[in-house]
């Protein structure tokens, strides 16, 4: 029985990349539908996500699931047989949810400030960013992945933001490898996995896009 799965996404979205990694880990076949968010939103997107009108949206048997972390939990529950994303132990699950929530609350907004601010504001954003990565690096510890021996929910939640690392380092004039060697090593380790490599946007393309956007905002 074919599972009808469609993913409405935008190539640059870190939230969409999360879903792509999860679907790849679970070896789920799906139709990819690129939504051009620069133009008018498609009727399909407006129908499938009337509340937020945002991507990603996973459409399974015609029914939409919205919000990337909720989609990850859904994928984990439906395609149980392979590559569990969340731990089975309730306490470990809670820890995974806590850190994914932390990533959602902090990493996205702070990392956006790394390329939309300058001067004192940029320095403050860098400080916040370093604090975030410090906490995350401590949480990672000596484990190969946040999920332990295998890639998991927290890894997938954080990985897409690594596409912007080269850009943040260049604009902010710092090195993630020098300050957070475990995080850098973790990114490189994850990139060796096909599910990750084919799901993340190329840092050069992200960099190009961000530089163009910055010009539009009046930078440089």
């Amino acid at each position: 029985m074919a599972d009808e799965v469609t993913l409405l996404d935008f190539w640059l979205s870190p939230f969409g990349m999360r879903v792509k990694i999860a679907l790849a880990e679970k070896e789920v076949k799906y139709e990819y539908s690129e939504q051009n968010l620069m133009n008018r939103k498609s009727d399909l997107l407006l129908k499938m996500n009337p509340v937020y009108k945002k991507i990603p949206v996973l459409v399974h048997h015609g029914k939409p699931v919205c919000e990337s972390l909720i989609i990850l939990q859904y994928i984990d529950a439906v395609w149980k047989g392979k590559a569990p994303l969340l731990p089975s132990d309730p306490y470990e699950r809670a820890q995974s949810m806590f850190w994914a929530d932390f990533i959602d609350r902090k990493v996205h907004d702070i990392s956006k400030k790394l390329w939309t601010t300058k001067g004192e504001e940029l320095e403050a954003a860098k400080k916040d960013f370093f604090e975030c990565l410090e906490l995350l690096e401590r949480e990672l510890g000596e484990k190969p992945y946040f999920g332990g021996e295998a890639l998991g929910y927290v890894d997938i939640a954080l990985l897409p933001f690594s596409c912007g690392f080269y850009t943040y380092e260049t604009i902010g004039d710092f090195s993630i490898e020098a300050r957070f060697p475990k995080i850098r090593a973790w990114v490189d380790r994850c990139l060796k996995k096909e599910s990750v490599a084919k799901s993340l946007a190329e840092p050069e393309k992200v960099h190009e896009f961000i530089l163009e956007t910055r010009k539009g905002l009046g930078f440089d």
């Binding site: 699931v65 909720i70 939990q73 859904y74 529950a77 306490y91 949810m97 929530d101 932390f102």
Partner: protein
């Protein structure tokens, strides 16, 4: 069964979410009232990242963030389930929990701000409530059916705290004629025996929140 402790503060709707879930599942626990102006060593040790309440401590291990705690309670004590079984229905429930968490903030902003910022927050609050009224609440008694679920618990602050914030801020958001479903849901929620017995007093809340109106909260 390992002991359960809850660190909370009495006027916090986030604390109450956990209390409601514990009571609905019949889980015995010990409650500790925190003074946020003088945080206890236990709180700082158990929630070093955010230093906030509520914190659930189960068998010595701490779980933070009210919504994470609710899911933990559901996973660990499956009796009296607070979530649907079906993965799609669960995803829908989680969607509304997240929605009210993100967008509900507008009501608190309305309460703590003044002038233009307050006006914008009133608009945002009404939009959030309209979305709940039109998209989330159907003909069912509660968000997911006949029984209380995590969605009702997450929205619980709308049933009691909203009224107080409206009164103190001088803004009526939930007018019964404009929000008939929401109005009915509020009545149903507050009428549930366990919820009824576990709500902070209206008058005490007025006394607590009145001096805070129009001023940004201190961390």
């Amino acid at each position: 069964m390992a002991e359960v402790k809850l660190l909370g503060t009495w006027p916090s709707p986030f604390s109450y979410r956990v209390i409601w879930a514990l009571k609905l599942k019949g889980i015995p626990y010990e409650y500790f009232e925190e003074d946020l102006s003088n945080k206890s060593p236990l709180l700082l040790q158990c929630n070093p990242v955010h230093k906030k309440i509520p914190v659930l401590i189960h068998g010595g291990k701490s779980i933070c963030e009210s919504l994470v705690i609710l899911e933990y309670l559901e996973d660990t004590w499956p009796q009296n389930p607070l979530m649907p079984d079906d993965p799609y229905e669960r995803a829908l429930a989680r969607f509304w929990v997240k929605f009210v968490e993100e967008k509900g903030v507008a009501v608190w902003i309305m309460f703590y701000s003044s002038g233009e910022e307050k006006e914008k927050a009133v608009e945002d609050s009404l939009e959030m409530l309209r979305t709940l009224e039109e998209h989330a609440l159907g003909k069912k008694k509660f968000f997911c059916g006949d029984k209380i679920s995590l969605v009702d618990i997450a929205c619980g602050w709308i049933a009691q705290w909203l009224e107080v914030l409206e009164e103190v801020a001088g803004v009526k958001l939930v007018e019964p004629q404009k929000f008939p479903r929401l109005h009915k849901w509020i009545e149903n929620f507050k009428d549930e025996p366990i919820i009824k017995e576990n709500l902070p007093g209206h008058d005490e809340m007025l006394v607590y929140f009145k001096p805070l109106a129009g001023k940004a909260p201190s961390r």
